[in-house]
């Protein structure tokens, strides 16, 4: 089985993994970072979104071995100590979640949106959230939170 080296949230991990291990399972089961969720497991819901070398991707649709040598950022890595990331803060302030299951993926996608499009309008945010499903909120407060974080 191959040995892989991955940097996750600034920390280097070296592990032997099976070829067919998905990246999301590696993050959850081997590294014990369970903030990244598995929702649909079919690349649709976006609960598993992480940043791979600075870009948002679905970690359920990538093999851990593909990420050998990569830098990964998960939801656990965005806050600085006790200080929430501005996007997390905006989700809290605007009540951008109800059950919270989709939230890690939503926040990782939202940060990626603002990285690429610093001043999006509402339409852009809604289009950019195409790959993230939320079954509770109706998206209103999620969109509100992202727009407010963009303005900060």
């Amino acid at each position: 089985m191959p040995n892989i080296n991955i940097n996750i949230n600034g920390k280097d991990y070296s592990a032997i993994t099976e070829e067919r291990q998905l990246l999301v399972n590696f993050i959850r089961d081997e590294v014990d970072l369970t903030g990244t969720h598995v929702g649909c497991d079919t690349s649709q819901c976006g609960s598993c979104v992480i940043h791979l070398n600075g870009k948002a991707i679905k970690s359920c649709t990538m093999l851990a071995v593909q990420a050998d040598g990569a830098e990964i950022l998960t939801i656990e890595g965005v806050a600085e100590g006790d200080n929430l990331h501005p996007m997390q803060e905006a989700f809290r302030e605007h009540h951008g979640l109800q059950c919270g299951f989709c939230t890690p993926g939503m926040i990782m996608s939202a940060i990626d949106i603002i990285n690429r499009k610093p001043n999006p309008d509402e339409q852009t945010v809604r289009e950019e959230l195409e790959g993230n499903l939320c079954r509770c909120t109706g998206y209103q407060n999620i969109v509100k939170a992202i727009l407010s974080a963009a303005n900060k």
Binding site: R20, S43, K58, T61, M62, Q66, S109, I113
Partner: protein
């Protein structure tokens, strides 16, 4: 997923060698189709040869009158490329509307056309712009490349390395996406060149992407919405499923074509 071996190739030549030597090997580019297919156990390659890290096939350049896109270029790279945006904006726009942002950060043009999903977007651009597809072994015109549903003329051990798109005077891609999957239920790519008009249709035919020659003939002599409206796609051989029957889909193609002409004349 069934078990498989995995190799990260450092060059196209290495990938080609491994693929030729392998029995039931598959090339892994972005994996946005292949991995879901393997998860469902619909594919069970013995070895995956990962070409995702090979920089030499991720270039995007203008060469003479064409835009050359390396097969490993991500959809997001094509969508954001200034070269593509300034010379073939319809192609950048097409890439910007594939799947969702996460898929676009991984999926590649080479993977998309090699898979030739009948509802994929890139095949329509390749046919509509008269692209040339370069593999490790040869150059293939788009007209010969796409041969049917998920079928191409690629040999078992052939790897696409770049796609060359001739720059048209103007072009437009109109797509009616399935609201759930974002795959095209009907997608029409129209490109206007000095002496010809090309029209390619994806998402509709049971045989995959095709050139709508009847529409091409009409638009070549008279590029107007009213002429376009007179041409109707026959529902015969058009896909029929829970998302839409063949009459409905054929009509969608007509509407997308009309809108494309409208936009190009606007």
């Amino acid at each position: 997923m069934y078990k498989f071996r995995y190799h990260k190739a450092q060059s196209v030549d290495e990938a080609k060698k491994l693929l030729t030597e392998s029995n039931e090997g598959k090339i892994l580019a972005g994996g946005q189709t292949l991995i879901p297919t393997m998860k469902q156990r619909l594919a069970s390659p013995e070895i995956l040869i990962d070409i995702g890290n090979i920089k030499e096939i991720q270039n995007i350049d203008k060469k003479n009158d064409s835009i050359i896109i390396g097969a490993g270029s991500k959809h997001s790279s094509v969508a954001d490329s200034n070269v593509v945006i300034s010379h073939i904006p319809a192609l950048a726009e097409l890439a910007e509307n594939i799947g969702d942002p996460h898929v676009r950060h991984m999926g590649t043009i080479g993977g998309s056309i090699s898979n030739n999903d009948p509802t994929a977007d890139y095949p329509a651009a390749c046919l509509g712009l008269g692209a040339t597809i370069k593999t490790v072994d040869r150059e293939i015109s788009a007209d010969n490349f796409f041969t049917g549903l998920f079928e191409t003329c690629l040999n078992e051990d052939e790897i696409v390395i770049e796609v060359g798109f001739p720059i048209p005077k103007k072009s437009c891609y109109m797509k009616f996406p399935n609201p759930a999957s974002r795959y095209a239920m009907a997608g029409v790519f129209i490109a206007v060149f000095n002496s010809s008009v090309k029209v390619a249709v994806t998402g509709a035919s049971e045989n995959g992407v095709f050139r709508w020659t009847k529409m091409e003939d009409v638009l070549s002599s008279n590029f107007t919405v009213s002429e376009a409206e007179n041409v109707k796609l026959s529902p015969e051989g058009v896909m029929s499923d829970i998302h839409g029957d063949s009459d409905y889909r054929a009509n969608l193609v007509n509407v997308m074509a009309k809108r494309a002409v409208e936009k190009l004349n606007g």
